[in-house]
Amino acid sequence: MQLRYLLPLLLLATACSAHTLTTIKTDIVPFIPEGSRSGEINVTSTSYIPSEAGQAISLNLGDTLKVLEEARIKIRVRLENTGSVPNDVSVMARIAPVSDSTNIFDGGSNTDCRTNDCLLGQGSLTLPSGSNNAGVIEIEVPLTPTEKPSALELIKSGQFRIGLRLQMNGSLRYGLEQGELTVQARLFQLLNR
């Protein structure tokens, strides 16, 4: 949903007190092409959701972004080992400015997300073979003035790219189950600018 179109509603309902924190939880999965959200790999390899270039997202919330206080990104990937031996799987989420190169997974340990791609979060597990061969990796990243502040600044710019890298040592079936973006702002503070 185009978040900026919520503005009249937000104004009507919440922008009337200095203490009211407006939280918007929205889904970014629909912005990833459906064919890129899931897949099956039969060899030891690396895979990307949706691609090495990531998914460009534009949050046109107007002035609201100027008073954005916090954000949170929650990602959940479902995994299933389709091989006959245990499979070590890792998932890495990275974020990058729109101006970054076509690969948002080459920035290494960069921590300034406003200038180059940087790590949002990662997780790993070992999937056994056999009947109990499925699992999930959840990555939940709070972005605050003290935790990953440059990533928060990038979100506040309204333009960013985000992507996932999956690494495994065997055949695997995967699917992106959740991609939730939460932003929080005190809209009343717009009057103080």
Partner: protein
């Protein structure tokens, strides 16, 4: 790191069109800010109008909002202008404006914006428009716990469901209406803030010049589809969802002429009948009407379609120099006083009923300007526009009261019903014992209201107090208020 294909999808369809006559490219907030100077007085009209229209006496508040037969109710039934004030009357003295103390609260003090911005924008106890609004419309009471906006409002728009909740997950009301909803003007002007009675030589005939300020209402209305979606938490494919907010305010000078008298005895009808008529015209000083609608449409898969969302905002305004406004209306009323003169304790008992019909015939018309802004970024320069209403749009007011001496003390009970676009009503009871009064009542004014009060009169001194409750606007919850009046006579 060469350039390659990028997957691009955005939350926006297209940038607002540049070069429009207004500063639409900065969005609604910028629009409001830029035009604040121009329209701020209309905002004050809206808020102050609400305050003036809802002011009540301490006794009425103690009775849960019940208005007893008598001249105080002549605004709703012109026959009561001729009704003896002493029948149900009660001299409660001077109403202390203790509601003003409520504005000393940091959260209800708008003047901090000019004198203490740090306090005004404090993220814990800063200004809260809802607190200010609540105290303003209950200006006769000091609100002990005025309405407060939630600390957090959560809009969830996920495949698992949609909802609007507070930080604790409690669903917020998205359907709110005050008065007629504020979507059109009416000739049913509010009671004047200041009335100047002009003496006339004919008994029963009165002329009053007044300055009025008020609103027909405020409303936030979800579409049926959105209401169902918020109830179930699920959205349907290929469905449009919308939320509309409306409000208006008007100010003007009114001139009312009324005639009320005790009618001749009607054969077969016991008791005394009173009748009254009133004609009122007004010259408009200002009118503002705002309307905003947000829409979203889902696609075949039940996802919100990025091309199917939009909003529109419209503002109509008229003020002296920019446009004109005028209106006329006619009111009629009857009241029957039925003295239950009997023996024993029923002696001097009284039963009174009245029916007032305001705006039996009415007409109002405002000529002014209209501006609009939509989600494509298109805004319009002020265009000439007209708002009018007319015809048979009556507002009914039915009330009744009964009072009777008891073996010890005396009892008064009453009820009223007002149909004025929206329905409201009250029932109340007062027990008098010597110089003391105890009273209580319950009413419905879009939400339940309660009142509990007492009064004491002796010698040259009187004291009345009331504890009231009402539902906080928008977010619900009970608000408690305290009203006080003092009287001295020498």
């Amino acid at each position: 790191m060469g350039e390659g294909s990028r997957t691009t999808n955005t939350l926006e369809t297209k940038p607002p069109r540049r070069g429009s006559n207004w500063t639409a490219r900065r969005g609604v907030l910028e629009y409001i800010r830029v035009n604040m100077t121009m329209h701020r007085w209309f905002a004050f009209l809206l808020i102050l109008g609400l305050a003036s229209g809802l002011a009540q006496s301490v006794r009425t508040q103690g009775l849960g909002g019940l208005l007893l037969p008598g001249p105080e109710a002549a605004r709703y039934n012109p026959a009561y202008a001729a009704y003896p004030a002493g029948n149900y009357g009660y001299n409660e003295g001077f109403r202390l404006p203790i509601g003003l103390l409520g504005f000393l609260r940091q959260s209800a003090n708008p003047f901090n914006y000019f004198f203490n911005k740090e306090a005004f924008f404090d993220k814990t106890n800063g200004f809260d428009l809802l607190t200010f609004y609540d105290q303003l419309i209950y200006l006769d009471s000091f609100l002990l716990n005025p309405a407060r906006s939630p600390d957090e409002v959560v809009f969830t728009l996920l495949p698992s469901g949609i909802s609007i909740t507070d930080g604790q997950g409690n669903r917020l009301r998205t359907n709110f209406s005050l008065g007629t909803g504020g979507s059109a003007p009416t000739s049913l002007t509010p009671p004047p803030l200041f009335g100047i009675p002009l003496p006339l030589p004919v008994p029963g005939l009165s002329l009053e010049l007044g300055l009025f300020l008020g609103t027909d209402g405020l409303s936030i209305t979800p579409s049926d589809t959105l209401r169902r979606a918020l109830a179930s938490g699920k959205v349907d494919p290929n469905t449009e969802y919308s939320l509309t907010g409306s409000g208006n305010a008007q100010a003007g000078i009114s001139l009312g002429m009324a005639y009320a008298a005790a009618l001749p005895t009607v054969p077969g009808l016991e008791g005394q009948l009173y009748g009254g008529v009133r004609g009122e015209g007004f010259y408009g000083l200002g009118y503002a009407e705002a309307n905003a609608t947000a829409k979203a449409r889902t696609d075949d898969q039940g996802q919100f379609d990025t091309n199917g969302t939009s909003y529109t905002t419209k503002l109509f305004y008229s003020y002296v120099g920019n446009g004109t406004g005028f209106g006329v209306r006619a009111d009629v009323g009857l009241a029957l006083d039925y003295p239950l003169v009997g023996s024993g304790q029923d002696k001097n008992a009284r039963l009174t009923v009245g029916l007032g019909i305001r705006n039996l015939v009415g007409f109002s018309r405002w000529q002014g300007s209209e501006v609009s802004l939509d989600s494509s970024g298109t805004s319009s320069a002020p265009q000439p526009a007209t708002r009018s209403s007319g015809g048979f749009r009556p507002a009914f007011y039915l009330n009744g009261a009964y009072q009777s001496p008891l073996e010890v003390g005396n009892l008064l009970v009453g009820a009223d019903l007002l149909l004025d676009g929206a329905l409201s009503g009250h029932v109340g009871l007062e027990y008098g014992l010597g110089p003391a009064r105890l009273r209580g009542g319950v009413g419905y004014e879009g939400g339940l209201v309660f009142g509990l009060g007492g009064g004491f009169q002796t010698g040259g001194f009187s004291l009345d107090t009331a504890l009231t409750t009402h539902q906080a606007p928008f977010f619900g919850g009970l608000v408690y208020g305290l009203a006080l009046s003092l009287g001295f006579s020498f």
